[in-house]
């Protein structure tokens, strides 16, 4: 049930902001500070999410196979690999490290 609440809230919120952009008069969101903030907010969230989903286990910080996977993704990224390959590299390396280390 909790999950459905989260899904409903996210769907409503995300649909609303999409629609707002199409309906709101241009001036409201065009202020430089608002735009700057909107550009930086995803940076902060994505950085925090990447770090947490790599190094967190519940409330503890851990260093495990996911870190190796993320490193592989970073290398693929630097080599300008396509999106799916970046994700694939992370998955394969993580699985490989787990298999080797038990």
């Amino acid at each position: 049930m909790n999950t459905w609440i989260a899904i409903g809230a996210t769907a409503a919120g995300c649909s609303l902001v999409k629609l707002a952009g199409l309906l709101v008069p241009a001036g409201v969101l065009e202020r430089p500070l608002v735009r700057r903030f909107a550009a930086l907010l995803p940076v902060a969230l994505l950085a925090a999410l990447t770090a947490q989903q790599t190094f967190a286990d519940g409330h503890a910080l851990v260093l495990d196979a996911r870190a190796a996977g993320l490193t592989a993704a970073a290398v693929a990224l630097l080599l300008r690999a396509p999106f799916l390959l970046i994700v694939g590299a992370a998955v394969v390396v993580t699985a490989g490290v787990r298999a080797l280390c038990g």
């Binding site: 809230a9 952009g21 790599t54």
Partner: protein
Amino acid sequence: MAEQTALTDRRTDGGGRPDAAVVRDALGVGIAVGLSGFAFGVTSAGSGLSVWQTCALSLLVFTGASQFALVGALAAGGSPLTAAAGAFFLGVRNAFYGLRLSQSLSLPRAVRPFAAQWVIDETAAVSLAQPGRRAARLGFAVTGLTLYVLWNLTTLLGALGAEAIGDTDAWGLDAAGPAVFLALLAPMLRTTAERAVAGLAVLLGLGLLPVLPAGVPVLMAALAAPAVLYVEGRRRSHAEGLRGSCRDGRSDGTRQSDRTRPDDQSRSGGPAGQNDRAGRAGRVDTEEERR
């Protein structure tokens, strides 16, 4: 200001583009990104969501970063509302795409609620890159349709596959989420300010993890954005104060435009990444910076 740039770009581009070229671009982006719904399906099911819940997210939310963030937060034990808040904040940038698209597509008001669902990074990148209204509308429609259909199909396949596999961690599938985030994040790190925001957000996100309830540290990490903006503003006004005391009025104006330019590029710039759209949009404009 960005609109002006966009308009001039459009004009210098001449009139329309052949429909076939627009469709080809749109399909390239739509297919490449649409296929990554598979990663979402797997991640979502691996996070404990049912196939129905996973598919509902792709059908109703349809903005990849938000979807990944939501399932990640739920898997970490976050409350439904903090999880939804993080996902919502990631979706906010779609409002800015809509703002630009409403000008370039100039859709009838009755159509807008239906078009809104497709306002994401990729459709914005493709349609804002087109020279005329007709091409922009075509690009938007083809990218939106291809991506929506494929994203939802591959989500379903991924979710079913993950259920069949059972323990997705053993297959390293728990690394898919962070890899997606990293791929989306990397192209956003263009300036010192953006890197500072990312660094500070990582510190906040990891540092607060042991002490705050699940899901809350990510929301606190979002404060890195206003914090850096504040420092940036302080520095600028300090610099301007210094300049003012030297009575150098002109450099003030120059400075101003220097400062706004990167931002304008990044906005009108979904499309600015045009040249490498096939590569970059396929990879990253993907979903999330651009979705």
